[in-house]
Symmetry: D2
Subunit: 292 residues, 4 copies
């Protein structure tokens, strides 16, 4: 297939790379051109404008926020200028509200729209092992199946309205960040009582919590390996999106509220550019434990 | 070995049963005799007094609380009357403070003491697949190894002071109850937004949260299967022990605080005798969702 | 003075009325004209367009949100068309961020800007007894002093940058809504233990809490008088603004987070159009107490 | 009247002093005798044993906790040895549960019992301006009215069962500590945004929050005057009693839960011996503000 790709940060570059490797013709565009040039070496065609990426069978956008999508895709009228028959896959974590707006705008422009946010970090994306949460008309999802297969090891179809994929993505991120906070509190609790956090991590991940989320993040927290896989400041954006959706939906999220305050605390202490698991430092700091 | 066993509730009976099956001579006692009689059929010797169970190589006690241990074991002087060389394994979830008191009392009475709380519910205990969190002098743990092997599939040695096993147990239960609360909030969040909670549970347990805790409890929560494996009112006791230890230790536990209030809410709504995963109803009720 | 007034809801109408009574020439505009007509009877001049209200010595705007100000004032270019020398007083509760944007826009258009949010509800406004939180250049505040005196019993100057008045207003509303939540929890706590909430309210307001906030709101909560003085759904908007400012500022606000979840709960239970003190029903409902 | 007084800490000494000044014959006892000797100079009779203080018309006890009352009054059998007709006034903050136990024990011993916890700190007690929260049989309260009048400026009768006074006292302390936390968060929020906390304190205490609680504690927080009027570690005890009562009563107290974690945080940072308003440092520290 001919596939456009807009937004070549860590995640986007890795995903585009997988599409190239799968044999698709990939038209890439990025605001800062260096990332695009790197993909040219792998076989991508670098296009001059985002609009050019919409002249394909499908286009994936991996842009940081509602605002950037508005600015780069919506405001310049890319939907109206899209090649007939194109399917737009929005793979970033955006607000549920904005996803609903996008549903309307795509319908008006006659452009097919699939919500396809992903679970996984850049290293996972590089291996093509993301989990894709997809929502959209079954036909549309079927048509882009080869693309989803190229970027992920599994596609989980959540529903027929694209915004439902964003609901699921926020729920998954909520679960993840709550697990991080839980570990942070548990580890500080243990350390203050002379039980090595490493021991409790070993027990948990060896028994009831033998799952990737706990294995990956307990190691990060205990080794203080906070090089950003997913920046804490962006993590706070996600928490904000959860809370905004919770408000609209009428579902309190007290754990997300606790986490929000801890992200604010972490950022006030200069940790916004670290990995979001650095929010664990808050629990350690509040227990007056050494934090390095 | 000759093994005493005091406290034959759901957990205790299953554990005693495993000890019998492993070929030990097991001397059982329970406040209400019916449970003891059932084990007699399996080969246990029913003793007339708790003191008799202390005339063995080792004795396991699985009693509901600090208070019951005080009443049945400490106040009547069972430690002082214990057979020389006996090792006492305290397998229930007790407070860290009381475990420290027990350390002192055992030392004074010259009785060996091993903290050995377990992870798992009665059905897991019946299969001998508990995880045992053990703490005590290495010699003592070595001597009771055959007993630990009979009741559990793994023994995790946490430290040399028995109370450390209780710290670890509270940390594990904290992690578990936080996972339950997380799922409850996430499911209510999804349901209010027309994403089937079953779908998000499938995604989570198929990806980052492919772990027993999430599989078991997402099913319980979504099928409203709240027949008590572990009573909610007892769960609140455990949360109280976490918070008490957190206070003593100087480690805030904001997630445990949120959970505490939800347990109080659940009990006020008549759910104290259900399984502790019924605390999930609080999130559904607060989101004004159907709850049956 | 010649004074424009845009936004004639309950608060705006009462404030405009006070300006008329103080002898100013008042040019009013409202989206739905009925409210303007009522003020005509009191002596106001009804203008056809918001722009006309900007042809005065000063203009007060009391509009519901950032968005409405953007739509009615900024987008149509009213600042650029304002009469030279006009001072714009923004009296509504807006976000700190938007207030900063307004500072820039006013500076660019050469229009003087005073932040002047108010404390008090429509009945207080009708008596001219509001407390005005003002921020702006001292000269500007001095020039509009007669207007501030007409609408309020006191003006509290917070700083020289207009947005600081909005920070103060959010802090005041935070304090107020935290007091409401505190009373709700305390009353439910007492009622479940057979102490009449009326008695504890009497004690508090007769001793350490002998203050208008506690007197007004304890009565509202206990008599379930929830006719909207300030709609709960708008209250949630204010809580959202607090949390947004808290994020930007780097100051966690855990009490606001608890309150947020309770507002979401209240709205899910159909209480969005009641007075914001109806958030107290959440504490009663969670304690399984009768709520009518 | 002949009045016994047991427990001569800061509060107890001041209250006993007022009883002497009112012309009563006061029999004092304290564990460390220095405090008793100081009152001898004012006219008190120092008795050798707590039991002697129970040989009077009434006895007030101001002891630090349930445990101390159990140890000094209950265990030694002072109730059974009390002079016939004596009324026992328990003026400390004790748990609701223990107050119920005391009701039973007094009834069994035939000793009249009045719950009479007080609002106010030592300096207020010294002026006889406490607020007394009283509960007990009307006859009993009537008989000790002269004593209540001597120590307080007002007596608030909460009910006929003594423990109800303790419920009310915990509700009052909950309200107070929630106000302190509210101010701490509001001040940190303001300071991070360049609004002087002193200014917002002035506004609040000049308008909706013109009440002693806000005046006293905003000054303490902003001037960092944390010489202990009421020790933070004792404050945590009170919060624990609130939460324990909340559990028994079935009334969630989310604000108390937030406060609890902040007290734990404060104590972990060495602030347990300061005044409980030093819990405000937590909000400042979490916002990364200077804290001295």
């Amino acid at each position: 297939m001919d596939v456009g790709f807009i937004g070549l940060g860590g995640m986007g570059s890795a995903m585009a790379s997988r599409l190239i490797a799968a044999g698709h013709r990939v038209l890439v565009w990025n605001r800062s051109p260096a990332a695009a040039e790197k993909l040219r070496a792998e076989g991508a065609e670098v296009v001059a404008n985002p609009a050019d990426a919409f002249q394909a069978d499908a286009v994936l956008t991996m842009l940081a926020s509602d605002e950037v999508i508005e600015e780069l895709i919506i405001a310049p009228g890319l939907l109206k200028g899209a090649r007939p028959g194109l399917i737009h896959l929005v793979t970033a974590t955006i607000s549920v509200d904005f996803a609903k707006t996008l549903e309307k705008l795509h319908a008006e422009a006659g452009v097919a729209y699939v919500g396809a946010p992903v679970l996984g970090r850049p290293d996972v994306a590089a291996k093509g092992e993301l989990n894709v949460l997809a929502a959209g008309k079954p036909d549309n999802i079927a048509r882009v199946k080869p693309l989803l297969d190229a970027i992920g090891k599994a596609t989980w179809v959540v529903g027929t309205e694209p915004h439902l994929a964003n609901v699921a993505k926020l729920a998954a991120n909520f679960t993840l960040v709550s697990a991080i906070e839980t570990m942070a509190e548990a580890f500080a609790f243990c350390e203050r009582q002379n039980v090595a956090p490493e021991k409790i991590a070993e027990i948990l991940t060896g028994t009831l919590f033998a799952a990737p989320a706990y294995k990956t993040y307990s190691a990060a927290i205990l080794e203080r390996k906070f090089e950003a896989g997913f920046k804490l400041a962006l993590g706070l954006k996600d928490v904000r999106l959860m809370l905004a959706a919770s408000e609209k939906a009428g579902a309190p999220l007290p754990f997300a509220s606790v986490v929000r305050d801890n992200f604010v605390d972490a950022i006030a202490h200069g940790e916004g550019d670290k990995d979001w698991s650095a929010v664990s430092r808050v629990a350690f700091r509040r227990a007056n434990l050494a934090n390095d």
